[in-house]
């Protein structure tokens, strides 16, 4: 509750500083609108913003689902196959050296102006963090658990699904929380490169027509969507993976 209070306080503080800058510099409203003007624009264009936000949200959620599923599958595959590790890991690291932004025009060329090029961007941007976080978790199964499983005569599949994966879920949760923040970035980049709908498209459109208040309003909504996704991911990982939600508490209890 205290975290929630301080977040509201921080937002109010930011708004106050913003308003102060607008007053003291006397900057034109088409360069930097005041917080009040942005909120007014948000209310005035609420239907328009809502429609575009919905499009972006669908792209982000589909991207999150597909990207997480691919990342989870890759991490499990890497953790059981030395060959996959030897072949895929360098590729994965190399793929991170290429800016995803540079791929956006190609994806639009390949997948068109519709939803799928944006979903592909979101998938590309979250695939690595999810894979990497979950894979690290899978490789850090406490030795004591493995010893116990061996003396019990556990089957390899049971070791994976009943020990290694549950033990790695807090790490996966960390990856999914990162993904929840990155996925909207991917979708919006996709929309900037070529789209007719979505918050990224709306921002570009508003910017081009010097409707800076609308641009800020759309950006604010995008931020709220991202924070909402992060909080949802955080809540879900706490609920689903560990009651106390703390990977550190778990690791410190488990033997190394």
């Amino acid at each position: 509750m205290r975290g929630w209070h301080s977040a509201v306080l921080a937002a109010l503080l930011l708004g106050a500083v913003w308003q102060l800058v607008v007053w003291t510099t006397g900057v034109q409203h088409f360069i930097l609108p005041s917080p009040g003007q942005v909120l007014a624009a948000m209310w005035k264009h609420r239907v328009l913003i809502g429609e575009h936000a919905w499009v972006t949200l669908v792209e982000v959620l589909l991207g999150l689902a597909i990207g997480s599923a691919l990342g989870i599958a890759t991490a499990i595959h890497l953790s059981v196959s030395a060959t996959a590790q030897a072949l895929l890991r360098p590729l994965l690291v190399f793929s991170q050296a290429i800016p995803v932004f540079a791929l956006a025009p190609i994806l639009t060329l390949w997948l068109g102006y519709g939803l799928w090029s944006k979903i592909a961007m979101a998938v590309l941007i979250i695939y690595f963090p999810v894979t990497s976080a979950f894979f690290d978790g899978l490789m850090r199964t406490p030795h004591g658990f493995m010893d116990l499983a061996r003396t019990m005569g556990a089957r390899p599949a049971a070791i994976m699904f009943r020990i290694r994966i549950p033990a790695a879920l807090p790490a996966l949760g960390t990856g999914l929380k990162l993904a929840a923040v990155y996925a909207p970035i991917g979708a919006v980049i996709g929309e900037w490169v070529g789209a007719s709908r979505g918050l990224g498209y709306l921002m570009l459109l508003a910017n081009g027509r010097a409707k800076i208040d609308l641009m800020f309003a759309a950006m604010l909504v995008l931020g709220v969507v991202s924070v909402g996704l992060y909080l949802t991911a955080d809540f879900l990982t706490r609920r689903a993976f560990f009651t106390d939600g703390s990977e550190e508490a778990f690791r410190s209890r488990a033997p190394g």
């Binding site: 556990a154 879920l169 209890r253």
Partner: protein, 253 residues
């Protein structure tokens, strides 16, 4: 459980740092508690892990045989200093973990009976995080019993408990593991003197035996002959510790 078996280990073990033990011969008597005492890094845990069929850092040459000539893997249960409870499973889930990991149908009735025997019948739905250290180790004991193996390998299972809880756990474990062949690796002379039918001190020069205290284990915590044995073990441990102190801080292997 299909009758008690004895276990004999004979052989040498080497690590990259040199010989761990040479021409060692250790016999675990049928249905008896054999206590293996030694300073850290002397190789007692390695010996236990070899019997358990677990990975070690040592290169072992020799034989590990059961008295009935059958294979040992699959007939040992293992309990470590850490309770190794799965934090995501309930107490009942942890007690039945072995069956689930083997792909068998767990027997819940038996698991509940075992939980009642360790005094945790009311706790079956709790998560391990909600239990005290002593309770968690009792769940681990119930899980070990659920495995129903003739050979029980205990690697300092009570060393993380406070003195009072520890002596209670020793009595409980001794009672519940009756009839099984137990190897207890410990660095606590008092524990060995209380529980051992046989006590071996592992030193860099091999196994040393000392006169056993009178009376059957578990011996009372204030039994004079037990206390005398504890003192003798202490003396032997101090004398056997490497003079250079080089190994004192080394982690148990």
């Amino acid at each position: 459980m299909t009758g008690a078996i004895g276990v004999t280990v004979r052989g040498n073990a080497e690590t990259s740092a040199g010989a761990l033990f040479r021409a060692l011969e250790l016999t675990l008597g049928e249905g008896q508690w054999t206590c293996l005492l030694g300073v850290s890094g002397v190789g007692k845990s390695t010996l236990l892990r070899l019997i358990a069929g677990l990975e070690t850092h040592a290169d072992f040459r020799g034989r590990i045989e059961a008295s009935d000539g059958q294979r040992i893997p699959g007939r040992v249960a293992y309990m470590a200093q850490s309770d190794l409870l799965f934090p995501w499973s309930s107490v009942l889930g942890n007690v039945t973990a072995g069956a689930r990991l083997r792909g068998e149908r767990p027997c819940l009735a038996r698991a509940r009976t075992l939980l009642a025997r360790v005094g945790l019948a009311e706790f079956e739905d709790r998560k391990p995080a909600a239990l005290s250290g002593g309770q968690r180790q009792r769940v681990a004991l119930a899980r070990t019993l659920a495995e129903d193996r003739p050979v029980i390998l205990l690697d300092e299972p009570f060393s993380a408990l406070d003195a009072h809880t520890r002596s209670e756990m020793q009595d409980l474990a001794f009672e519940l593991l009756e009839g099984r062949t137990v190897l207890l690796v410990t660095h606590d002379p008092g524990e060995a003197a209380r529980l051992g039918h046989r006590i071996h001190v592992m030193t860099a020069r091999g196994l040393r035996s000392i006169p056993m205290p009178t009376g059957e284990p578990p011996r009372p915590v204030d039994d004079p002959s037990m206390l005398a044995c504890q003192g003798a073990l202490h003396r032997l441990l101090r004398d056997s510790a490497p003079s250079s102190d080089g190994n004192r801080g080394a982690p148990a292997t």
